[in-house]
């Protein structure tokens, strides 16, 4: 049924390790950077890493589900970015800074 293409026989681990590394880097970015733009970018990285993991798994089992999940993640990322960036603009207008630590009105 399907057009079989010769593809590279890479162990699944390697793909997953890549995803893990990207994910960890994204996490470091979120935790270490104070600039909200960087934080948003790091979130994108982490989402992307998650999508990568899905695609790797999908490729391993030769199923379409992995890619479907990636599409959903893309949708989530798009929605998140649009709202996140709007908020970011709002914050910048109000506080004249992108420093996440400066916005701490919720301090108990």
């Amino acid at each position: 049924m399907r057009t079989v293409e010769a593809i590279a026989a890479i162990p699944m681990h390697h793909g997953l390790v890549l995803a893990a590394i990207l994910f960890a880097l994204g996490m470091i970015g979120i935790l270490a950077r104070r600039n909200l733009v960087f934080i948003l970018m790091s979130i994108e990285i982490m989402l992307n890493a998650a999508g990568l993991a899905f695609v790797v798994a999908g490729a391993r089992w030769e199923q379409a589900d992995g890619q479907v999940m990636l599409i959903f993640i893309l949708a989530v990322a798009a929605a998140e970015v649009s709202v996140g960036l709007a908020l970011l603009l709002l914050l910048y207008r109000r506080f004249q800074t992108l420093d996440a630590d400066a916005v701490s009105k919720m301090r108990g």
Binding site: T3, I10, H14, G15, A32, R60, I71, A75, L89
Partner: protein, 178 residues
């Protein structure tokens, strides 16, 4: 083919590392695009051409363009980059680094437990993805569309408020303080 995978993986990791370390936001954005393109290549190598295309079109294209627009609107100059540099003292990396190391260690342990698994040999085409998407995942698609709509409305709403920034914000502040 394998070499392509490892090469693009290395590029992706390197570019991502740059994203989280550079102080200029625009540069970081460009590195991020690089990283995403590298991941797109990885997808292609893994036999997911449709995913690769989407990665480029939507991620590297659409979403990143959003970031670019925002950068333009913020109009950050050198001063911002300098302040960014000031925030990036070495001490800040230790905590996240330790956490990330722990996470990686744990994941590595899980992979080691799993043992070797052979790779799939067939590519999954766009057609199959489409069938899956509008077959069993129809509900998910609808939900995703709803989510996007919500994101759209939310962004619109937040953006609309900007019209009354000068007066409206003062009012809002008054509310909060009072």
């Amino acid at each position: 083919m394998e070499i392509t995978f490892y090469l693009s993986a290395a590029i992706a990791i390197a570019a991502t590392l740059m994203v989280i370390t550079v102080s200029n936001a625009t540069h970081a954005l460009l590195y991020l695009i690089v990283s995403l393109l590298a991941v797109a290549i990885v997808f292609f190598v893994l036999g997911a051409p449709f995913a690769a295309a989407l990665e480029i079109i939507i991620y590297a294209g659409a979403i990143m363009v959003l970031f670019v627009f925002v950068m333009m609107m913020l109009n950050l100059g050198k001063a911002a980059a300098a302040r960014e540099q000031g925030w990036l003292n070495p001490g800040i990396w230790t905590g996240p680094g330790v956490l990330a190391a722990l996470l990686l260690a744990e994941l590595a342990y899980i992979f080691a437990q799993g043992g070797d698994t052979p790779w799939g040999t067939a590519a999954v085409t766009a057609k199959e993805v489409g069938i899956a998407l509008f077959g069993p995942y129809l509900l998910g698609v609808e939900l995703a569309s709803l989510l996007l709509l919500a994101g759209l409305v939310g962004a619109c709403h937040l953006g609309w408020n900007q019209a009354g920034i000068e007066t409206g914000h003062e009012e809002e502040r008054g509310h909060e303080n009072g």
